[in-house]
Amino acid sequence: MAILQLIVNGVLLGGVLALSALGFNIIFGVMRVVNLAHGDILVLAALVCAVAYGQWHVNPLLLLPVTIVGGFAIGACIQRYLLRRLPAEIASGEASSLTLTFGLSYFFMGAGLWVFGGEFRSVPYLTSAFQLGPISVPQARLLAFVAAVVLAALLGLYLRTTRMGRAIRATSMNLDGALACGIDIETVRTFSFGLGSAVAAASGTLLSYIYTFNPQGGTAFTISAFAVIAIGGLGNYTGALLGALILGLAQSFTSFYAGSTLADAAPYVLFIIVILLAPNGLLGRRTT
């Protein structure tokens, strides 16, 4: 029965990880930038929720609009005021955008340490569980899962039906083609970075129901977002859901059998296995 229970926990966690990975994927798809600050934005949002809950007992779900807008603003500013200013003539353009997000990751981690301190925080909300026969479904996890599914569906709808959403998808598919169609690439980039960060902040808000957070935990979430994408195949949304499911299960099982420290390593180990078995799948959508 323990196994069934772990599967339920893993699936519920996977839903939220999938949302986080979607945000990471939008930014990578449009700009070919791996956002190393992804996890740190996620963690900052979660910490804001934890502090707000501690102070005023605000349900994190009510804070979603705040964290989404905040995440969007941060992301749009990163693209518009920092990444865009990187000198174009430098040969290693890819490396400098990457190093920039690496610096930002520490900037956010340091800001988090400065503002919130280093201690772990959590949201002890809805700590009870529904009993389904022998399986208990933790209410907080279920709520986070449902909210993540709703948000992911809204995001998918947005990318498919709106003008900006279609421009984002077009730019991801083919930059030159998008330019030829008269798409304003700079606006699309700013918007995508904003959207990707907003999704990161939203998943942090939802994960605050599940995990305890401190400002230094961001890297693990960046890796997990990337592992989900890598397992599922870059740019493949159905694949990302599958990847998130696998990762959620892996984390739920390792944390039960091997402890939570090693569970943090699970996404990484999966990532390495994928590299070894399917390196081409990983590099499939890399531009030259």
Binding site: R85, I90, E94, F107, F108, L113, Y268
Partner: protein, 323 residues
């Protein structure tokens, strides 16, 4: 210019050799931090600057070196110096398989992979009771900084010598050809995997050796200090400041920044990572090539070309003529 540079380097070396004998603890510590970061920045520069594979996880090797030394002292009653040697060699050995796997990844995926490696090694060490777990290992007290300083200075000199060799050898040209365009380098007959893995191993051994001295100097190692985010970030900031992929950049960057960073770390430990993260972002935008190339490009053209030859452009053509 070359003469001035040689003179300056000679004077610097003389200071590095003699000064520690006549200064008090505070300045000795500062000197130690400087040579430590010179060594680490040169180590990072080999794989990231010359091969173009930006690694954000070299701190993993530093930590492994530190723990190897801790273990040598605690479990085998060994000497810290022996531990440090073993740590560096261990890093060189494990870097071979790690390099084979990691260097199959290109660009950002390699960087992310290395970031994850550092995180995972730290998690593994934290959950291994034989290594002290999250609490760490207390080494016997009695460490004196002077031998650690000279050992780290030797590592820094070796790292500089390796970089000099890279700048003046076919191997170095092969590395830079890989950085410019790996596919073309391959068609020109560069044995990519061998060259990349060699560079990776060199880049891993330098922090591996240096970590041992650091552990002995601290007399206490735990995952957060051995796999320190601060050291990782600071190394990269220094290399970027001086000039990534240049012979003199890591030296200039480390010497300029160590004192500043020590002062900041002492004054604002809480905001330190934020300041340095922001500094890295600012450097990339305002001084993207670093100090050394910025100065070299202002020299008279012929010399500037020679100074720059190791840095951008035409590496592949140069390599063809070299062979």
């Amino acid at each position: 210019m070359t003469l001035v540079l040689r003179g300056a380097a000679g004077a610097l070396l003389a200071v590095a050799l003699i000064a520690p004998l006549g200064v008090n603890g505070y300045y000795l510590n500062l000197l130690y931090q400087t040579v430590l970061f010179v060594a680490l920045a040169y180590g990072w520069n080999i794989i990231s600057g010359y091969a173009g594979y930006f690694s954000f996880g070299q701190i993993a090797f530093f930590g492994i070196g530190a723990y190897a030394t801790g273990l040598t002292i605690m479990s085998f009653q060994g000497n810290w110096f022996v531990g440090s040697l073993l740590g560096g060699l261990l890093c060189g050995i494990i870097a071979v398989p790690i390099g084979f796997v990691m260097l199959r990844l290109r660009g950002p995926f390699f960087s992310l992979g290395m970031l994850g490696l550092a995180m995972t090694v730290r998690a593994l060490v934290s959950s291994t009771p034989q290594l002290g777990g999250g609490t760490g290992l207390f080494l016997p007290p009695g460490a004196t900084l002077l031998p650690v300083y000279y050992w780290t200075l030797a590592i820094a000199l070796a790292a500089f010598a390796i970089t000099w060799w890279i700048n003046h050898s076919a191997f170095g040209l092969q590395l830079q050809a890989i950085r410019e365009d790996e596919t073309i380098a391959g068609t020109l007959g560069v044995p990519q995997t061998r060259v990349k893995v060699t560079a990776f191993v060199l880049s891993a051994m330098i922090p591996g050796f240096a970590g041992g001295g650091y552990a002995w100097f601290l007399t206490f190692i735990e995952p957060t200090s051995a796999f320190s985010s601060r050291i990782d970030l600071q190394t990269i900031v220094m290399a970027v400041l001086g000039g990534v992929g240049t012979l003199w950049g890591p030296l200039v960057g480390s010497i300029l920044m160590t004192q500043v960073s020590e002062a900041l770390w002492a004054q604002f430990p809480q905001a330190y990572l934020m300041i340095f993260g922001g500094l890295l972002v600012a450097l990339l935008i305002l001084l993207p090539r670093g100090i050394v190339p910025a100065i070299a490009s202002r020299l008279p053209p012929a010399r500037a070309a020679r100074e720059r030859s190791g840095e951008t452009g035409m590496v592949t053509a140069q390599m063809v003529s070299h062979e």
